[in-house]
C-alpha cells in the first residue's frame, strides 16, 4: 500500500516539475512605474499611467512579447526625488526591474546612480533635464522624450521671427525649470534678445502674484514659461486675473498642453509653446495609435505626455523582443545604437548618451475641429531637433 502511495507521490512530483520548467521560461515581463499619482504633477503622472496601461494591454492582446505576458505595477512618488528613489528600489526589489514613466527630472536623476545596484533599467519619457543624458548619464538610464536642449533648438529659430526684444522667464525651481530657463537664455542671446526678469517658483506653489507683479514691472514684452501640472494651471489662472497675458506675449514648454488647455479653456488661447507630441501628427502609425486609443479611452485623444510615454513603451517592448530577454542588462544592450519603429517614425537610440533621436514641434493654442487645442505650425526633423550627444556624458563603467 505504502509503495503505491509513494509511487503516486513521485508521479505527482514529476508532473509538477515538468509543468514548472516551461512555466519558468514563460515568466511574465514585469514593468515598474514610479510616478506622481498625487501632488502637483499628478495630472502628468496620470497621463504616464494611462499610456503604460494602454501599451501593456495592447502587447498582451497581441499574445505578449515573445509569448510572454506583460505585467505592470505603479507606485506613487509625488514627483519627489527622494520618494522616487525609495519607490524605484521597492519596485526593483519586487522584480519590477524595468522602470519607466517618472515625471520630474529630479526623479530620474535620483534613481540613475542606483540602477546598477538594483539591477534595474530606467527609461525617461517625460524628464527633460539635460543632465539625464549629459553629465549624469548612466549605463542603465535612457531617454525616449525630447530634452531641454532639443526644445532650445526649436526655440532659437522661432525666436528669430518674433518682434519682442525684452523677455522674462517664469519657471519651476527644479532641475527641469532651471534647465529650461538656461536653455531659453541661450536662445535669447543667439537672437540678441535681452532677459529682463528671471523667476523660479518653488515646486507646488499656490501664489504666483509676486512673480506676476515682478514680470509686469520689468517691462517685459515676451514671457517664457516652464511650469507644468498644477503649477501651470495656478500660474495661468492668476496671470489672467492680473491681465498679464493682455500685455505680454507668452510662450512656454509643458505649459499649455492638451490637458492644461482643457482645464484653462479661453485663458490659454493664443499662447505659444513647444509641442513634443500631438495626436494630430499625420503618420499612418500615429493615426492607428490615435484610433486604438479612442477605443480604449472612449472620446479621448492621446495627449502629449501620453504620446511620449507610449513611444517610450514602444522602445522598451521592442528592445525586450530584440534581446529575447527581460533582464535589464540584456535589454539595455539591445537598446544601445538600435533604431526603433515608433508612432513618429524610425528613431535611433544613440549609443553615446542614450538619447532617442526624434523630431520636435512648435505651435500655439487655437481652434482645430471645433476644439481648442495646441496646433503645430513648425516641425523640425529628428537630426536638427536633437542636438549632438553631450560631451559631458561619460558613462560610468
Amino acid at each position: 500500500m505504502q509503495t503505491v502511495w509513494m509511487r503516486r507521490m513521485g508521479l505527482a512530483a514529476a508532473t509538477v516539475l515538468a509543468a514548472a520548467a516551461p512555466a519558468a521560461a514563460q515568466e511574465t515581463i514585469k514593468i515598474g512605474v514610479p510616478t506622481a499619482l498625487t501632488g502637483t504633477y499628478a495630472d502628468l503622472g496620470d497621463q504616464s499611467r494611462r499610456a503604460v496601461v494602454f501599451a501593456v494591454e495592447e502587447a498582451n492582446a497581441a499574445g505578449g512579447i515573445d509569448g510572454r505576458k506583460v505585467e505592470v505595477r505603479f507606485l506613487d512618488t509625488e514627483a519627489k526625488p527622494d520618494l522616487a528613489r525609495r519607490q524605484g528600489e521597492k519596485l526593483a526589489l519586487e522584480g519590477y526591474k524595468l522602470l519607466i514613466g517618472a515625471v520630474a527630472s529630479g526623479e530620474g536623476l535620483a534613481m540613475g546612480p542606483m540602477l546598477q545596484r538594483w539591477d534595474a533599467l530606467y527609461i525617461s519619457t517625460i524628464n527633460k533635464a539635460n543632465q539625464i543624458t549629459g553629465s549624469a548619464c548612466q549605463p542603465r538610464m535612457f531617454r525616449a522624450n525630447r530634452l531641454d536642449a532639443a526644445d532650445g533648438a526649436v526655440v532659437t529659430p522661432w525666436l528669430a521671427g518674433r518682434k519682442e526684444t525684452k523677455w522674462a522667464i517664469m519657471a519651476a525651481d527644479i532641475a527641469w525649470g532651471r534647465d529650461s530657463g538656461a536653455s531659453f537664455i541661450k536662445s535669447a542671446q543667439a537672437n540678441k534678445r535681452t532677459i529682463v526678469s528671471e523667476n523660479y517658483s518653488p515646486f507646488g506653489s499656490n501664489d504666483f502674484a509676486p512673480y506676476i507683479q515682478k514680470i509686469k514691472d520689468s517691462g517685459a514684452q515676451g514671457l517664457w514659461v516652464a511650469l507644468a501640472g498644477r503649477d501651470a494651471i495656478n500660474f495661468a489662472t492668476q496671470a489672467k486675473q492680473f491681465g498679464l497675458f493682455d500685455t505680454v506675449f507668452t510662450a512656454g514648454v509643458s505649459f499649455v498642453t492638451d490637458n492644461t488647455v482643457k482645464t484653462l479653456g479661453e485663458v490659454s488661447r493664443g499662447i505659444w509653446g513647444i509641442i513634443n507630441y500631438s495626436s494630430t501628427l499625420d503618420t499612418p502609425a500615429n493615426k492607428k495609435f490615435v484610433a486604438d486609443w479612442a477605443k480604449k479611452y472612449p472620446g479621448a485623444e492621446p495627449t502629449n505626455f501620453e504620446g511620449e510615454t507610449y513611444i517610450g513603451m514602444q522602445v522598451l517592448l521592442q528592445a525586450i523582443a530584440r534581446a529575447k530577454s527581460s533582464k535589464p542588462a540584456d535589454v539595455a544592450k539591445a537598446m544601445e545604437g538600435t533604431t526603433f519603429d515608433t508612432i513618429l517614425g524610425k528613431q535611433l537610440m544613440r549609443k553615446e548618451d542614450h538619447q532617442l533621436v526624434g523630431p520636435n514641434f512648435f505651435g500655439y493654442v487655437g481652434d482645430k475641429d471645433g476644439k481648442l487645442k495646441p496646433i503645430i505650425t513648425m516641425s523640425v526633423p529628428p537630426e536638427t531637433a536633437t542636438p549632438p550627444a553631450d560631451a559631458a556624458c561619460k558613462m560610468p563603467g
Binding site: K80, P81, D82, R85, K90, A110, D173, P202
Partner: protein
C-alpha cells in the same frame, strides 16, 4: 514610604528590561541570516532608521515634557552636513563625525535659549527653526541643488569599511539595528542616573527644583541636545544608506511623522517610540500598496491610539507583561 517599599522588588524587573533588550537586540541581529528577501531587509533598515529618529523625539517628551515639531532639522542637517562637507573636500570620516557633532552643538546652544519657553510656544519655535533650514536648502540652489536634492559622493571605503556595507540592506540593517539598541540602552542608563532623576524632577515641577538649589536650564538644554544628537544619528544613517539627500529630510512633515511614531509607540517608555517607528513604517508601507490615501490610515491609527491607548502600544505591552507576570499593573 511607598517608594522605599516599591523600590526593592522592582529592581529585578529593571534588570529584566536589560536582558529583554539585549535578547531582542541579539534576535534582530540574526534577521539577515534568516530572511533572504532584500525587500524585507531594506524595509526593516528604513524602519530602524525611523525608530532611531522617533526615539530622539520621544525622549524629549519623556524627559523634558516638551514636544518638538522640528526634529527633522537635526535629521536633515546631519544628512546635509555629510553631503556638503564631503562635497567641500573634507575626508568622509571627518564629515561623518561632524554630521552628528555639529547638529548636537547647535541644539545645545539653541536649547539654552528655547527650553526657557514652555508649551505650544516651544513647539512653534522648534518648528520655525526647522522650516528656516528647509527654506535655506530649498532656495540656495548653488549650495545644495534645491528641490532636486543631491547625491553624496562617498569614497569607496569609510573608516576602512567597504562603503557597500552601508548600502546593502543586509549589512546596513545590522548597523542600524545595533545603533538603535545602543541608543535605547544609553537612554535607559541615562534615565536611571542621577541626572535622569533630576531632569524628571524639573519636568514635574521646575520651580521646586530651582528652590532646592538646582540649575534648571542647562539640564533641560542637555536633554534637548541629547535628543537632537539621536535625530542627527538617524540622519547620518539615512545619508549613509541612501547616498542621497533632499529638502524633504528637513521638512516639518518629517518632524510630524516622528512625533506620530512616538505617540503611537508610547513616549513614556524609552523604547516606546522605537516600537512606534517600526509600526508606523509598516502601516505606511502596507497602506501605500493599496491606496494613495495612506495618510488617512495613519491618521485613523493615531486617533485610535490616542483615544483607546493613551500610553501607546508600548504601554499596552507593559501592562500585558505585568498581567502575565502576575504583578499588579502600575
Amino acid at each position: 514610604m511607598t517608594d522605599i517599599v516599591a523600590g526593592a522588588p522592582t529592581r529585578p524587573r529593571r534588570m529584566g528590561f536589560l536582558f529583554a533588550l539585549l535578547a531582542i537586540g541579539a534576535a534582530g541581529c540574526t534577521l539577515p541570516a534568516v530572511v533572504q528577501s532584500p525587500l524585507f531587509l531594506t524595509l526593516m533598515t528604513q524602519a530602524a532608521i525611523n525608530a532611531v529618529l522617533a526615539t530622539g523625539v520621544g525622549f524629549l517628551v519623556r524627559q523634558n515634557g516638551t514636544v518638538s515639531f522640528g526634529h527633522a532639522a537635526f535629521f536633515g542637517l546631519s544628512a546635509y552636513a555629510t553631503a556638503l562637507l564631503i562635497k567641500f573636500g573634507l575626508p568622509a570620516e571627518a564629515a561623518i563625525i561632524l554630521a552628528v557633532a555639529l547638529p548636537t552643538l547647535f541644539a545645545l546652544a539653541l536649547g539654552v535659549v528655547i527650553v526657557r519657553i514652555t508649551g505650544v510656544a516651544f513647539s512653534m519655535l522648534t518648528l520655525a527653526v526647522a522650516q528656516a533650514f528647509h527654506e535655506l536648502v530649498l532656495k540656495w540652489r548653488e549650495l545644495a541643488n534645491g528641490d532636486d536634492g543631491m547625491a553624496i559622493a562617498f569614497p569607496a571605503r569609510v573608516f576602512g569599511i567597504d562603503m557597500a556595507t552601508f548600502q546593502q540592506p543586509a549589512s546596513m540593517f545590522l548597523v542600524c539595528w545595533v545603533a538603535l539598541i545602543a541608543v535605547i540602552l544609553g537612554l535607559w542608563l541615562l534615565c536611571r542616573s542621577r541626572f535622569g532623576t533630576l531632569t524628571l524632577a524639573i519636568r514635574e515641577n521646575e520651580e521646586r527644583a530651582r528652590y532646592i538649589g538646582y540649575r534648571t536650564v542647562l539640564p533641560r538644554a542637555i536633554i534637548y541636545a541629547v535628543s537632537a544628537a539621536i535625530a542627527a544619528l538617524a540622519g547620518l544613517l539615512f545619508a549613509l544608506y541612501n547616498g542621497f539627500v533632499s529638502p524633504g529630510t528637513l521638512h516639518w512633515s518629517l518632524s510630524g511623522e516622528a512625533l506620530i511614531m512616538a505617540i503611537i509607540g508610547g513616549p513614556r517608555l524609552v523604547w516606546g517610540p522605537a516600537l512606534g517607528g517600526v509600526i508606523f513604517f509598516f502601516i505606511k508601507n502596507a497602506a501605500g500598496d493599496f491606496t494613495d490615501h495612506w495618510p488617512a490610515v495613519i491618521g485613523i491609527t493615531l486617533i485610535l491610539v490616542t483615544v483607546l491607548l493613551p500610553r501607546g502600544v508600548g504601554g499596552v505591552l507593559v501592562w500585558l507583561g505585568a498581567r502575565l507576570g502576575g504583578r499588579r499593573p502600575s
